[in-house]
């Protein structure tokens, strides 16, 4: 076993530190501080805004009409959100909007859309990808949102790709 599971070697008290160990530690710190990671937001991580007509099923939401779903992002300040991928089936009807939004909870200023896209054409299971390159700011709430407008729509969840944790 070696790093990162156990020590590569134990350096004795008066021995020089091997250069290979110093290089490996530098690489591990770099990878540790800046991993690119996917964070899933399954269907059960979402909640309807203002009620709506969404129904949480077995890993997906279905709808009776316009419904807004929101999912929290709890990544710490300084995290870089590279992409947000939403999985859904428009079912050939209505509009599915997806958003990354933020709001400053200290000032209470209006909600800001960081990134958004709309699908008005799809009829099979697919994904929509936002590439916001957004770094979570101090004092901001950040969340994902989707608006499904038709009873044919199905929403499965999302994932966030983030680094600089």
């Amino acid at each position: 076993m070696a790093l990162p599971t156990t020590r590569d070697i134990t350096v004795s008290p008066t021995s020089p530190i091997p250069s290979a160990l110093a290089n490996k530690l530098q690489d591990m710190i770099t990878g540790w501080k800046f991993p690119a990671m996917d964070f899933p937001h399954p269907a059960c991580d979402w909640r309807p805004q203002g009620g709506g007509s969404g129904l949480l099923g077995d890993g997906q939401w279905t709808f009776g009409g316009l419904t807004i779903l929101m999912a929290k992002i709890r990544l710490p300040v300084g995290t870089l959100i590279s992409s947000c991928t939403f999985g859904y089936n428009r079912g050939g009807a209505g509009t599915i909007d997806v958003y990354l939004k933020k709001r400053n909870i200290v000032t209470g200023a209006a909600v800001v859309v960081v990134a958004t896209s709309a699908d008005v054409t799809g009829s099979a299971w697919e994904t929509a990808v936002l590439n916001p390159a957004y770094t979570v700011e101090a004092d901001f709430s950040v969340w994902l949102e989707t608006r499904c407008s038709n009873g044919a729509n199905i929403f499965g969840g999302a994932k966030i790709n983030a680094s600089r944790l």
């Binding site: 020089p16 530190i17 250069s19 290979a20 110093a22 290089n23 530690l25 530098q26 690489d27 710190i29 770099t30 540790w32 501080k33 800046f34 909640r47 309807p48 805004q49 203002g50 009620g51 929101m70 999912a71 929290k72 992002i73 709890r74 990544l75 710490p76 300040v77 300084g78 939004k101 709001r103 400053n104 909870i105 200290v106 000032t107 209470g108 909600v111 979570v136 101090a138 004092d139 901001f140 709430s141 950040v142 969340w143």
Partner: protein, 169 residues
């Protein structure tokens, strides 16, 4: 680019390791174990507790259709040993009623619940923040949560920020 983006320098085989690189590595390990981090708890991170008057989740904030509203709660999912140093809440009292903000815990094993820190807001008519600042180290077998009570239809709640300065991964 230096650490932590890339290596500071590549130590050649059989060469001595530079002291400044070695010291920086130590500092970064300390910083990784003891960072000060802010974790946002957006409005949509809160769940509605039991009662007859559920508050209403809007576009990044909670409002109160019928007062007093059921309490709303948000879980703090941090490993035991993590130290919470503050919880900041964003709200608008709008000149009426009382808002109550709490940091609470409940023992899985014994089932007992207790306040860690609380604050009531009875003044203010504009958007503002209030913070709980009693440090708390997350204990084993303990659920930790924040909750908010809104008792007037004028109230708006926007979310919270949990700050930690000792992170256990």
């Amino acid at each position: 680019m230096p650490l932590p983006l890339t290596r500071d320098h590549t130590a050649a085989a059989a060469a001595a390791v530079r002291a400044n690189t070695w010291n920086k590595l130590q500092d970064m390990v300390v910083g990784a174990a003891m960072p000060t981090l802010d974790f946002p708890h957006p409005a949509c991170d809160f769940e509605i507790g039991a009662g007859a008057n559920p508050p209403l989740l809007g576009d990044g904030q909670w409002t109160v259709p019928v007062a007093p509203a059921n309490v709303i709660q948000s879980s703090i999912v941090l490993a035991p040993g993590t130290r919470i140093v503050s919880v900041k809440f964003g709200y608008n009292r709008a000149g009426a009623g009382t808002l109550l903000f709490r940091l609470r815990k409940r023992d899985f094993a014994g089932g007992a619940a207790a306040n860690i820190d609380t604050v009531s807001v009875v003044a203010g008519a504009a958007w503002a923040t209030v913070s709980l600042i009693t440090p708390y180290v997350v204990e084993p077998d303990m659920q930790v949560l924040i909750d908010v009570t809104l008792d007037n239809v004028a109230h708006i709640f926007g979310g919270a920020i949990v700050t930690v300065d000792r992170m256990v991964l």
